[in-house]
Amino acid sequence: MESAKTIIPKISRRKFLVGAGGFTFLITTGVIWPKLSAENKTANDGTITAWVHLQPDGKVIIYNPAAEMGQGSMTALPVLIAEEMDVDWSMVIIENSPIIPEIYGSRGFRGGKSMITVGSRAVSGYYEILRQAGAQARYVLLYNAAQKWNVPIQELTTDAGVVIHKSSGKKMLYGEIAEFAKSPDKIPKIPKEQMKQPGQFRLIGKNIPRCDIPGKVNGSAIFAIDIQLPDMVYGAISRTPVNGARPVNVLNKDSIMEIDGVIDLVTLEHGVGVIANSIETAFKAKKQLHIQWSEGAKAANYNSVEAFEKYENMAGDASIKGNVIKDEGNITNALQNAEKTYSSDYKNDFAYHAQIEPLNAVVSVAPDGSSAELWVGSQAPVSARRAAAQALGIAETKVEIHPCYLGGGFGRRSMSGYVSEAALLAKRAGKPLKLVWTREDDIAYGAFRPMSVQRMQAGVDKSGNIVGWSHIVVGTGGRLMTSGVNTLFYTFPNQHIEMRNVDEGVRTKHWRAVGHGPNKFAIEAFIDEIAADQKIDPVEIRKRLMKNHPRALKVLETAAKMANWGTPPPPGRGRGIAFAERSGSLTAGVCELSVDRNSGRIQVHNFWVALDAGVVIQPDNVLAQSEGSIIFGLSSVLSESLTFKKGKVQQSNFHDYNVMRIADAPENIEIKIIPSNERPSGVGEAALPFVGGAVSNAFANLTGIRLRHIPFTPDKVLEALSS
C-alpha cells in the first residue's frame, strides 16, 4: 500500500508565539500590554489575552475565537477588531485563537466565559469585547507614535493602518511602530464615545469577502475528517439501535477479527468499536458485527407515530401539571367570557441535523499516555477537550485541541460524545486514530429536534381582539420544546403557556433555532386561523397585536410591502405571512407557493423577508445566513420526518430522510435588512422560525385547507386536499 500522506493544517499558533519579531497586544481586564512576542510567555497562563499580533511588515494577525461552521463569524469577528484598530483590511491575516475561555471567551449562558458557538451568538456575544480590544490596540499604537514624535497623543489620528499627526504632516505605518513599540504602563478602557460611531465605520456594514471561502472552492479547506497523521489507524463504531441498551456480547467476534485489516475490537458502554488499518475496512467490519444488546431500555417501547395520540390526550388532561412558562391574567375566565373561542392542534415530527460532514474526530495519544492531541470540528471545543481528557484519564491541560472547520453544526456539534469515542479507541490503538461515523450511524444515533403536539386555544372579544391565549406544548425533549413559545411582541391580556414533557428515553438536542421552528409555526398558523374566521387581514391582526413594538411593526410592514401584500397573487398561487423573533432578531416572511394537486407537491416560488438584526457587520453574509435558514426551515416543513419504532430510528440515509434539494428550493428569495444602530443580534437562524407559519398560511389562503402537521409531505397534502 502506498503510504498515506500526512495532512495537518499549516497554521500553528505556537509558531508565532516562539517566532520572529513583531508585536502582540495583550489584554487583561481592560488593560493592554504590548510586548515583543518572543517575551510573550504569559499568553498561556490564563490571565492575559492576546487578540492581535502586529508584524513589522504591517501584517496584522487577528485571532478568531469562534467555531467556523459556515456562518462566517471567522471573518465577521476579526472585522470588529480591525474596525476599531483602524487596520487596512488587506493586511489582515486571520488565525484561530487557542481554546482558552478565560481569555478568548465571551459571556456564557451560565455566567463565566465560554467559547461555545451556539444560538447565533458569535457576533452579538463578542461585539463589545472585540471592538474594545481593537480600540485599545489602536491606543497602544497612538501612544507609541506620540512618544516617538514627542507630541501629545490627542493630536494623533489614524487612517487605515497609518498614524497621522495632522499639524506636522507626519505619518507612520502601523508596521513601523511594531519595530520599536513599548508597553504603556496603563491602557485605559476606551469609552464608547471615543470609539467609532456607526456612520464612521469603514469595515462594519460593508461586504468583506469571507476569508474561508477561497479554500472552500478548491478543496484545500481542512475539516477534521481530512486530517491524516503518520501511522494513523481508523475507527468505526456500531452503536446501540435503541438508546440506553448496552452491548452484552459480540456473537461473531472471531470472524470479524479474521477480516484482513481489522486490528482490534473495543467494547464501549453504548456500542462496539472496530479499529482497522483503513476506513473502508473499519466500515465493512462494523457493518458485519453481530451484537447482542441488553434488554429493557426505556426507549425500547417507543413508537413515535403512535405517541401523538398520547400527547394529544395529555394536552387536554387538566389533571396534568406541567411546567408553567407564563401565566398572566386569568385564562380560564378569559376563555369563558370570550365572544368566540378557538382551539387547534399543531404537530411536528422529529428532525435530524443532517450536517453534511458526518461526525468524526482524530485523536493521537502520546506513547506514555500522559498527553494527547485532538483534531475536531466542534461547536463546543472546551467540552470536546474535556471529553477527550476524561476518556483518557488525563488533565484537560494535557490535551491539545486543534479546531478544524465544521462541515455543518446546527447544534449537533455542540455535543462531544464522538470525541470521547475517538479518544477511547485511540487509547486502545496506541496509535493516532481517526473515528468516522457513517451517514447511517449519524442518523441512527442522532439527537433530534423534539417532536411535539401544540394545543392552541384562544378567545376573542366582539371586535375580534384576542383576549385569551393558551399554548400547551406536549412532547419529549423538555426545555428544547419551549424556545420561542413566548410571544415577545404580541400582547395578550390573559395568557397561559405550559410545557408537558414525557421522557421517552430517546436522544433530543438543539437543532437550528430549536423549538422556535415548531412553536412559531403553531402560533403564526393559529393567528391566521383566527384572522380568517374573524375576517381580519393577517397583516392587520398582527399589527394590532404588536402595536406597542415599533421595531416589530416595521419588520412586518416591510415584508408585506415587499410582497405587494393586498394585491392578488398570480393565478394558482397563494401567499402567507408570518412573524417571529429569534436570538434577538426580528423577522417577517411572506411565502408565495403553488401546489400540484395530482402529486401533492408544494412548490415555493417566492419568499420575501424583512430582518432587523441591529447593526449588521457583514450584510451579504447575513443574506446568505438568512437564505440558508429559509431553505433549512423549508426542508423541515416540507419533507423532513424522523420516526422511531420500538425505540429504533426508522430512517437510514438520504433516500428516506429527505432534506431539501436544489430543484425544490424557492425560485426567488428576497431579503431586506432594516437599517439599525441597535447592537447586533443573531442571524444564523433568525430566518427559520417564520417559515412553517408562512407556508401553512399561504397554503390555506390558496386552498382553504389548513395544514397542521409538519412536514407537509405530498401524501399529507393529498390527504388534506381530499378531505
Binding site: P214, G408, E627
Partner: protein, 151 residues
Amino acid sequence: MKTTFNLNGKTVQVETLSDATLLWTLRDHLGLTGTKYGCGEALCGACTVHLDGMAVRSCTTPMSMVTNRSVTTIEGLSNDNSHPLQKAWIEEQVPQCGYCQSGQIMQAAALLQNNSHPTREQILAQMNGVICRCGTYTRIVRAIERTAQNL
C-alpha cells in the same frame, strides 16, 4: 490490487483492497481530501469527481472501474482558483460550511462542459443530486448562470 489511472493529468498507480472505492483511495491513499464523504451511497453528491469528463459519485465507484481512465478531482480543476466556476463561486460567496462545495463545483463543471448555456431547469436537474445542507442553492444557481454568461 494495483490500479493505474490518470489523476488530474498525471499517471498514478495505487495499491488498494480489491473492493476499494475511488473516494477513499483518493482521500486516504493519494492525499486528495477535497473530495468529501457524505453518505457512501450515491445519495448526496459530496464525493462527485469526473471520470473521463463525466460527473460520477466516487463513493460508489470501485477502483476496478477506474483502470486506465482519467479522473479529475476538485484539486485538478485548478489549484489557484482560476477556473471560471471557482471565480464565480467566490464572486457570489457561495460556500457556507463548504463541505458540499467540491461536489457542487465538480457537478457544475461537468454540466457546463456538456452544455455551456444551460437553462435554469437544466441546472436544477443536473445539480439535484448534490445536497447542500447549509442551503446555498440560490447562490449556486447564480454562480452557474454567471459562469455560463462569461463563457
